[in-house]
C-alpha cells in the first residue's frame, strides 16, 4: 500500500513499564491502574479483558499517551516507537494521534458527527496530517470500504451517519482509523453494541484489515469468545492489576489463575428443561405498531407455560421489547388477544384492576434507571408491599427484610439509596421490588446484559432459586444465547416482528433449524480461537 515504511513484525512498538494511573473523585486520588507492564510488537494484536472497572479502557488509552479528564499518570513509562509519551507535549501527541495511533470507540453512532457525510470524516485525519491529499485519500477510503466489505463502497461515503446501519458505521469507523495507516489501533469494545449476526461481519472485517496492513492493535472487550477470535495474546485485568497473560490458545486451554478460571466457568451454567401444558399467558395473533404504520409485532402467537422460563430471543428491532409492552398494557395491541389465567387481559393499562397488575411484574435492563435515585430501598421495595398487600409499619418492615433476605442481601441494605450499592445489588433490589407483589409472571427485559459476567451468573442463579421457591413464571427477553441456554425451558425466536420458532430448549437449540435460527445460533462467538475462521469458510462455501 501507500506507505509501508518500517512494518517489520517482531520489532517492539509499545512498551509500558510499571504504569500507575490515578483518578480524582471525592477530593482524593484513587488508583485505577496499579503498576502494569505491557509490550506490543508491530503487527501484534493483544486483547485486554476484564470486568467493568478493571482498568482496561484506561490502560488502552494510556498506550496512546492519553488519560481521561480527572485522571493522571502517577508512575511508570509509556514508550511508543521509541518516543516517551508520558512527558510528550500535547502538540507532539496530537501529531501522533490520527496518524500513527488511532482509536475505534464502542459507539460509532456517538463518535461520528451527524452533520457531516461519512467520507469527509473518514479522510479527515489523513488529509489533516498531510499523509495524503484529498483525492488520494478518497480513493483510498473507497478501497478500504471495499476491503471492509461495506455495501456500495464507491457511494457509501456520500451518506450521512444516520443513513447506514450500526454495523456499517462501525466498519466505517475502522476505515477512518485505518485511513492514515497507523502503527497502532486501539479498539475499545467495538462490537459490544452490535447484534451477534452483525458482530460476525464486523469482527471478520476488522481482523482481516489489521492483518493485511500489519497494524498492531489493542483489543479491549469483556467478551472472552470475541477476544479469542481477534487477539494473538490475551491479558486479563482485575482491579487495575494484571492477573495473567499468555498467548490466546494457551490462555483458553490452560488458564493458571483462579480468577481467570472463574471467568471461563460462567459459560457452563445450565438449567434442565421441563415441559408443562398448563398455560398461564397466551398471546394470540397479536399485531402492534407505534405510529399505526409499521407493524412492530406481526401476528405474534406465543404460549407461556406456568412455572417455567420462556426466553424470547432476537436482534434489536425484532419486537421482543414491544411484546413485553403489549403484555403489560403500555402499548395496546391493534389486533389479537392476550389471555392471562384463562381470562382476557384488558388491552389498556388503565382498564386493568390492581390485582391483575400485581400478578404481572417487570424487571428492567438497567437498574440504574429502574430505581428512583431519591428513594431508599425501604421505599422502593416497601411501596408494592403497602400498595398491593396493605401492610404498614412494623409488618411492612418485616416483609421488606424477608424480601431482602430472599434476594441474598441483608437487612442493613434497607436504608440505602440505589447510588450506594453495586450494579448487581441494584438488579437484586429490582428483583425484590417485583417479588414484593407476589406475582405469577415476571417479565425480565435483558436483565443481565448490563452486568459483568460473574455478576450475571449470580443473578441468573438467584432467579432460578426464586422460581423453585415461588413457582413464578419468567418471560425472559434477551439477545444473549448463553443466557438462554442457562435459564430457559422454552425458547421463542423472533425476527422482524414475527415469531420464527417456539419450542422446548432442546428442540430450538438442536437441528433441524429454520434458516434464521441457524444464522443466529451460528453467529454466537465460541471460545474456540478458530471459530470465526471456520464459520467464514463454511458461510462462503454455502
Amino acid at each position: 500500500m501507500t506507505n509501508d515504511k518500517k512494518r517489520i513484525r517482531g520489532e517492539a512498538l509499545v512498551e509500558i513499564r510499571g504504569l500507575k494511573i490515578e483518578g480524582y473523585s471525592d477530593d482524593k486520588w484513587h488508583p485505577i491502574i496499579k503498576g502494569v507492564d505491557l509490550s506490543l510488537k508491530r503487527g501484534e494484536v493483544v486483547g485486554l479483558i476484564g470486568e467493568s472497572g478493571a482498568g482496561k479502557s484506561t490502560l488502552g488509552l494510556a498506550a496512546m499517551g492519553y488519560t481521561k479528564p480527572g485522571c493522571r499518570i502517577s508512575a511508570g513509562t509509556v514508550t511508543f516507537d521509541g518516543k516517551d509519551l508520558v512527558n510528550a507535549s500535547q502538540e507532539d501527541l496530537r501529531k501522533m494521534w490520527g496518524s500513527q495511533i488511532s482509536y475505534v470507540a464502542q459507539s460509532a453512532s456517538a463518535s461520528f458527527n451527524p452533520a457531516h457525510r461519512i467520507m469527509e470524516q473518514v479522510v479527515e485525519s489523513a488529509t489533516n496530517h498531510g499523509v495524503m491529499n484529498r483525492q488520494t485519500a478518497e480513493k483510498d477510503a473507497k478501497d478500504l470500504f471495499k476491503r471492509l466489505q461495506l455495501p456500495n463502497p464507491d457511494t457509501i461515503g456520500e451518506r450521512y451517519p444516520h443513513q447506514v446501519s450500526g454495523g456499517q458505521l462501525q466498519r466505517a469507523m475502522t476505515a477512518m482509523a485505518m485511513s492514515s495507516r497507523p502503527d497502532l489501533i486501539v479498539f475499545d469494545e467495538p462490537t459490544t453494541a452490535l447484534d451477534v449476526t452483525t458482530q460476525v461481519e464486523v469482527l471478520a472485517a476488522m481482523r482481516r484489515i489489521v492483518d493485511e496492513f500489519d497494524t498492531a492493535a489493542i483489543y479491549i472487550t469483556h467478551d472472552l469468545a470475541v477476544v479469542a477470535q481477534m487477539a494473538h495474546r490475551i491479558m486479563v485485568l482485575r482491579y487495575g492489576n494484571l492477573v495473567e497473560q499468555a498467548d490466546t490458545r494457551t490462555m483458553l486451554k490452560a488458564p493458571t489463575q483462579d480468577y481467570t478460571k472463574s471467568l471461563w466457568a460462567v459459560r457452563k451454567l445450565e438449567k434442565k428443561e421441563s415441559k408443562s401444558e398448563d398455560i398461564i399467558l397466551s398471546i394470540a395473533n397479536v399485531d402492534a405498531s407505534y405510529s399505526g404504520v409499521v407493524k412492530v409485532l406481526d401476528n405474534v402467537t406465543v404460549n407461556i407455560p406456568r412455572g417455567r422460563t420462556v426466553a424470547v430471543v432476537g436482534e434489536s428491532g425484532s419486537g421482543k421489547s414491544t411484546l413485553a409492552r403489549a403484555i403489560t398494557g403500555l402499548l395496546p395491541p391493534s389486533k389479537g388477544r392476550i389471555t392471562f389465567n384463562g381470562k382476557e387481559l384488558p388491552p389498556k393499562l388503565a382498564d386493568r384492576d390492581r390485582d391483575t397488575l400485581r400478578r404481572i411484574q417487570m424487571i428492567y435492563q438497567s437498574a440504574d434507571t429502574a430505581l428512583n435515585p431519591r428513594q431508599t430501598v425501604r421505599d422502593i421495595v416497601g411501596r408494592p408491599v403497602e400498595f398491593y398487600m396493605g401492610l404498614k409499619g412494623a409488618a411492612k418492615d418485616r416483609r421488606i427484610v424477608e424480601l431482602l433476605e430472599a434476594i441474598e442481601l441483608g437487612e442493613d441494605f434497607i436504608d440505602r439509596y440505589p447510588g450506594e450499592v453495586s450494579g448487581g445489588q441494584k438488579q437484586r433490589i429490582s428483583i425484590a421490588r417485583a417479588l414484593a407483589a407476589e406475582p405469577e409472571l415476571i417479565i425480565c427485559d435483558e436483565v443481565t446484559s448490563a452486568l459483568d459476567q460473574i455478576v450475571q451468573e449470580e443473578i441468573l442463579k438467584l432467579l432460578m432459586k426464586l422460581q423453585k421457591e415461588t413457582q413464578v413464571t419468567y418471560l425472559f427477553i434477551t439477545h444473549d444465547i448463553a443466557t438462554v441456554r442457562a435459564i430457559s425451558d422454552e425458547i421463542v425466536v423472533m425476527y422482524k416482528g414475527k415469531v420464527v420458532q417456539q419450542g422446548l430448549k432442546s428442540q430450538v437449540l438442536n437441528p433441524p433449524y429454520p434458516p434464521y435460527t441457524e444464522l443466529l445460533l451460528s453467529s454466537v462467538p465460541q471460545m474456540d480461537p478458530d471459530w470465526l475462521t471456520t464459520l467464514l469458510k463454511k458461510r462462503s462455501a454455502a
Binding site: G70, T328, L371, Q425, R433
Partner: protein
C-alpha cells in the same frame, strides 16, 4: 460494580440532617460563604428595618441634598429624607416584592410544567406554544406595556411579573420533569397502578427539586433586577415607598456633581444579585455533580 458485597456502611456512616447541613456549609467555597452571609444580612435588614433604621421611611429630616454627615451617613435625598433609612426600608420592599413574585411564578409555572410533562397531549402543546409566544417578547418591554395598560400599582406589578416569569419556570420544570418521566422507574410506578399525584410527588419532584431550587435563586435575581429597572423607569414601586430602583432614578443627577448617593442603592442591588449567584453556582455544582474540569 466489581464486588458484590462491599460494606458501604463502614465507609459512609449515617449522619443526622443537622450534622449533614453543618458539614455541607463548612465545605462551601469562600464565594458561597460570602454570598450566604450577604443574603443573611439583607434579610436581617429587611425584617428589622423599622428597628435599625435611624429615621422613618418617608420622614423629612432636613434640607434636600444634604451631604453625608455623622447624623446622616449617606446624606439626604431630594426632599430631605435620610438615605440610609431609605436604603434599609428599600430592602424590605424590593426583596419582599421580588420574593412574592417568584413564589407566585413558581406556583404557576412549576405546577403547569410538571403536569404537562407527565400528561403530554394537546394541553402540553397548547401551553408550550403560548409560552413560546410570551418568551419571544422582551420581558422589560412587555412588562412596561402591560403596566401602562393595567395601571401602576404594587399588586399589578407583582402579578404581571409573576406571569411573565412563570413562562421560564414552566419551560425548565417541563423539560426536567420530562427527562425524569421517561425513566424506567416512572414506568414501573405506572405499571404498579399508581395514580398521577403519587407519581408526580414521589417519583418526579424529588429528582427535579435541586434544579428548581437553584432556578428559584436565579429567577429571584432576575425579578429583583427587573423590578429595580421598572422602578428606575418610574412604573415600578411608587413613591413615597422606598425602593432601590426609584432611589437611583431620583438621585441620578447627583452623580454629575461627584456625589456618591445614587451609587449606594445601585450597589445594594448589585451586591445582592452577585451574592445570590454565588450561592446558586455552588448549590448547582453540589447537587447536579457538575465539575469545572469536565
Amino acid at each position: 460494580m466489581t464486588t458484590e458485597h462491599v460494606d458501604i456502611r463502614s465507609i459512609r456512616s449515617r449522619r443526622t440532617l443537622w450534622q449533614n447541613t453543618i458539614r455541607l456549609l463548612k465545605s462551601a467555597p469562600l464565594s458561597a460563604k460570602f454570598g450566604m452571609a450577604v443574603i443573611a444580612f439583607y434579610f436581617f435588614c429587611a425584617l428589622f428595618a423599622p428597628l435599625i433604621a435611624p429615621f422613618g421611611e418617608s420622614e423629612i429630616v432636613g434640607k434636600a441634598y444634604q451631604a453625608p454627615s455623622a447624623a446622616h451617613w449617606f446624606g439626604l435625598d431630594q426632599i430631605g429624607r435620610d438615605t440610609l433609612s431609605r436604603v434599609l426600608f428599600g430592602a424590605r420592599n424590593t426583596i419582599g416584592i421580588a420574593l412574592l413574585t417568584v413564589c407566585i411564578s413558581f406556583s404557576i409555572g412549576g405546577v403547569l410544567g410538571i403536569y404537562t410533562a407527565v400528561t403530554r397531549g394537546w394541553l402540553d402543546q397548547l401551553f408550550s406554544r403560548i409560552v413560546d409566544i410570551f418568551m419571544s417578547i422582551p420581558v422589560l418591554i412587555f412588562a412596561l406595556m402591560l403596566l401602562a395598560m393595567a395601571g401602576k400599582s404594587v399588586w399589578n406589578l407583582i402579578f404581571i411579573l409573576a406571569v411573565l416569569d412563570s413562562t421560564r419556570v414552566f419551560r425548565l420544570a417541563r423539560n426536567t420533569a420530562l427527562s425524569v418521566a421517561v425513566q424506567d422507574f416512572v414506568e414501573a410506578a405506572r405499571l404498579r397502578g399508581e395514580k398521577l399525584p403519587w407519581i408526580v410527588v414521589r417519583e418526579i419532584v424529588p429528582n427535579i427539586l435541586p434544579l428548581l431550587i437553584a432556578e428559584f435563586g436565579l429567577r429571584f435575581s432576575f425579578v429583583f433586577l427587573t423590578i429595580a429597572a421598572l422602578s428606575f423607569l418610574g412604573v415600578g414601586i411608587q413613591p413615597p415607598t422606598a425602593d432601590w430602583g426609584s432611589m437611583v432614578a431620583e438621585s441620578k443627577t447627583l452623580i454629575t456633581f461627584g456625589r456618591p448617593q445614587p451609587l449606594i442603592p445601585a450597589a445594594a442591588i448589585a451586591l445582592l444579585t452577585v451574592a445570590v449567584n454565588f450561592v446558586v453556582d455552588w448549590f448547582l455544582q453540589k447537587t447536579s455533580g457538575l465539575r469545572d474540569d469536565q
